[in-house]
């Protein structure tokens, strides 16, 4: 078992087979740096619980193909990303920090699905980006491809 500690000082025990899906922790274990508790200063306990839930479910991913549990896993993934935007954003940041490739792919795809029809203003707010383009530069981009800025599907909400 490997012990992980969130930035709000909560400890979680995870099976080694599950936790090594994180390239970062796998490297730490291989280098002998994971003898006691691994502190994760960038991840809060709420997000870490989600990540561990994913790791535990995907522990036997290789076996799933043999036992026909692929559908079960797919269903789990669909349910897993069914969370609020802020929560998903935190899981993406954690998955990126821990370097968990499959979780990254799953969450980034879900994030893109939510962003794709958003307005520019909504995306800036959702990704916490400050606009650094001048009005002229912005207008030039719009003039370049006006068709990309039209359409009834463009959505200005931020969730």
């Amino acid at each position: 078992m490997v012990k992980l500690k969130s930035n709000d000082d909560k400890e979680f025990e995870v099976e080694e087979a599950a936790v090594i899906q994180s390239e970062m922790i796998k490297n730490m274990i291989e280098d002998g740096c994971a003898t006691s508790v691994i502190p994760l200063p960038n991840i809060d306990s709420k997000t870490l619980i989600k990540v561990i839930e994913y790791l535990n479910k995907h522990i036997n991913m290789g076996k799933a193909a043999e036992t026909g549990e692929e559908d079960d896993l797919k269903e789990f993934d669909e349910q897993f990303v069914n969370m609020g935007w802020e929560e998903l954003f935190d899981v993406i940041m954690a998955a990126n920090y821990l370097n968990i490739h499959e979780l990254m792919e799953l969450c980034c795809q879900s994030a893109a699905d939510r962003l794709k029809n958003k307005s520019v203003r909504a995306v800036r707010e959702m990704l916490k980006i400050t606009n650094d383009l001048t009005e002229e530069e912005e207008q030039e981009i719009i003039n370049d491809a006006p068709w990309a800025f039209e359409g009834p599907e463009i959505d200005d909400t931020v969730n």
Binding site: F89, I92, L115, V120, R124, L127, E138, I154
Partner: protein, 140 residues
């Protein structure tokens, strides 16, 4: 206050976006504007467009205009017009590789390679048509 999103994460998330959203999001900030034209990003994006079940691309011609079709779910698709690509030609051959479309007329000497994401057309060097072989094949 939450930390700002690192640029590598924008890269990773945006690589899943359909082309229209990418062009639209060039307006978000300078990084997005340059990202869309970056070759590393285009590579990842096109690769996904072909392999990703939501992004299967087709290339069609209708009423003098060319479109890419992105298949979303079964039976549903979104249509995107390719600008500056409206010559009234009916192509004999259309082949799609990694998001690029190669369309040619039987007797056209220079074969155009079209990139609908970038809206760029590149012409292959002239090739010689051997009468006995008939129509030249494509190699990629």
């Amino acid at each position: 206050m939450k930390p700002t999103i690192p640029q590598e994460l924008i890269f990773k998330i945006f690589s899943w976006l359909p082309t229209k959203s990418l062009i639209h999001f060039k307006c978000i900030f300078k990084f997005c504007n340059s990202l869309v034209l970056e070759s590393a990003f285009m590579g990842v994006h096109q690769c996904r467009s072909i392999t990703h079940m939501d992004g299967k691309k087709f290339f069609i011609w209708q009423h003098k205009d060319y479109y890419t079709i992105e298949e979303k779910e079964e039976g549903k698709a979104s249509c995107l017009r390719i600008e500056n690509c409206s010559e009234n030609l009916l192509y004999d051959h259309i082949i799609c590789v990694n998001g690029l479309f190669c369309c040619s007329m039987k007797y056209e000497e220079c074969v155009p390679i079209r990139n609908p994401s970038k809206k760029v057309v590149t012409y292959l060097p002239r090739f010689i048509v051997f009468a006995k072989i008939g129509y030249p094949g494509y190699f990629y």
